[in-house]
């Protein structure tokens, strides 16, 4: 990843490049920007995401209230 930099005055060193913000801009402007789902490309990745991200429904690997030792 190419990092964004900004120029700042450093005491005794003149103008230097320093690291700018590394987060994505917070305002989702435009149709595409907020579309996090496009980050997942292959069907495998999508299924994997469902098993982890939506594990409440699609995986046994979680410890919510419905998966206690003494289930509700």
């Amino acid at each position: 990843m190419a990092y964004k930099t900004v120029k700042k005055e450093a005491p005794g060193r003149g103008e230097v490049d320093i690291l700018a913000e590394t987060y994505e801009a917070g305002e989702p402007i435009g149709e595409e920007v907020g579309r996090w789902r496009h980050k997942l490309q292959s069907r495998d990745d999508k299924l994997k995401y469902l098993m982890s991200g939506e594990r409440y429904w699609y995986s046994d690997d979680w410890f919510g209230s419905e998966k206690r030792k003494n289930p509700a």
């Binding site: 917070g26 305002e27 989702p28 402007i29 435009g30 149709e31 920007v33 907020g34 579309r35 996090w36 789902r37 980050k39 997942l40 069907r43 999508k46 299924l47 995401y49 469902l50 982890s52 991200g53 939506e54 409440y56 429904w57 699609y58 979680w62 410890f63 919510g64 209230s65 419905e66 998966k67 289930p71 509700a72």
Partner: protein, 655 residues
Amino acid sequence: MPEEKQDKSIDQATQELIEKAEKEGINTAFDRADSLKPCPIGAAGSCCKHCGMGPCRVPLPKGKEETPEEKQKRRGVCGATAETIAARNFIRMVAGGASAHSDHGRGVAELFLAVARGKAPGYEIKDEQKLLQVALDWGIEIGDRSNNEIAVDIGEKALAEFGKQEGELITLRKAPLKRQELWKQQGVAPRGIDREIVEIMHRTHIGVDQDYVNLLKQGVRASIADGWGGSMIATELQDILFGTPAPILGKANLGVLKEKEVNIIIHGHEPLLSEMIVAAASEPEMLELAKSKGAEGINLSGMCCTANEILMRHGVPIAGNFLQQELAIVTGAVDAMVVDVQCIMQSIQTVAECYHTKIITTAAKAKIPGATHIEFDEHDAIKSAREIVKTAIENFPNRKGNILIPSQQCDQIAGFSHETINYLLGGMFRASYRPLNDNIINGRIRGVAGVVGCNNARVKHNEAHITMVKELIKNDVLVITTGCNAIACAEAGLLVPEAAAKYAGAGLAEVCETVGIPPVLHMGSCVDNSRILIAATAMVKDGGLGDDISDLPVAGAAPEWMSEKAISIGQYFVASGVYTVFGVTWPTEGSKEVTEFLFKDMEKLYGGKWDFQPDPVRAAQLMIAHIDSKRKALGIDQARERVLYDMEMRRELEG
């Protein structure tokens, strides 16, 4: 500005246009609400016209307690008691609402199947992940099959849910396990969507079900068939076809109209055609045509729930909510208002006749005399869409002058589907509701409220919505919103992250700032209330807040409700275990027993109950009190501070 206009709406754009309408002699819903008083007997649910011996009116005696003998006599010609009549009226409202949402769902399922079979050019499956998700939910084989093959199975299964006669809806499986069990025990798990609605119509016919408890039970069953059935199917399939909403910036209020461009407002509920209009309006030929007519461009905006759908997926601005539809035309700058189904006032055609606006109806099941009808043909949708956009462009030169577009418009961020909330809170590698649950447990967030529903011309436009939502967020209650409430919140500037610092309590503001979300999350249109059900289920499943939705510190409200759909939504919130408060008016007030059953006894059966409170601040306080009682039951009523152990404390502990 005269006092009177300010009494009608809290929104300045609306006030300005009410004044313009008045000057120009245009009759609007605001005027009609003044001149046409609601019938108090009908409003209380005490009038029956289910047969030709009626209408029978059985109002409660005014200002005195009735004797048992008087009560005995308070019946319709057929002998139906005030209880039967109130309960019948109430569940017929549920049937009306559930059928509206579900018929929308059926329409989506039909288009979905046509797309899967390659018979609806222009549409495609945009969200494979959601397709896979629904396939997993419904036990449809994935393997190496193509998306279209999977989609054919999904489409067929979805359509079959409407006419299913036995068993249970497949979509109920999404609910918390305990809730599914409870519905089974209570005998309210819906068999098929249409069946439960038809059964209401049957049972409320003269001389059928005459036990209000039994009638209300069927209302519960049909409402579940709406929220966890028809509406849920609509939402899921729309997500697959058009994309699952993700955060997007948009604008709201009548100021989004543009004087120098062709203004097309898409109004109604189903996103099927509007998706195509969005595509057609951006075609270069259309732009050329617009320029040839002297316009600088084409400006699309939405109204009511269609607005929410196209905002969430394309960032198309929202022109307004239910009570602003006539006023949009009063600007004199709307070249076409394209409508499909639900919440479309017939009077828009009359108002349009005073200006140049073309009202274009598009649904075979919803026509308006005098309007131009361009029927939406799913097999050639882009053709219908182009014809509509062209009609609007060609109408641009017919503007009559005297244009007034109010300047008000607000930024908003929409698109908080369940999937997106889950992702935002946990990230790609461990998407989760954990941070929400943790912040509820530690008390930064007190609870969650779903505030939804319509505008109602009997009360000041948007006032109850905004007052209630502000009161809730001030008290650290995170608000999730849909429908016309969402639009009201957008117009009041509540749907941006900055609103947290301005209006939210310290705890909620801190969480919003950390995650970067507004204190009020826009989850979509009315059918998207099913997203609220899924979000609540995810909270349950993540753990720490009980085993069922009825354990969660949550509440629901529709402070300005008016449509039958709102009653169906409220009923399925209640049937899902949510305490739900409505404002404006209560449709069973004519029967103490029925009202008592809805407000008290339902809680024993379903863990959720109805309430009525027209004062939005008091209603919010009722919701907060309920949230607090749930916190207490969970043992999280005292926020426990984490103790930071310093070295000395540690040594003490070891010693």
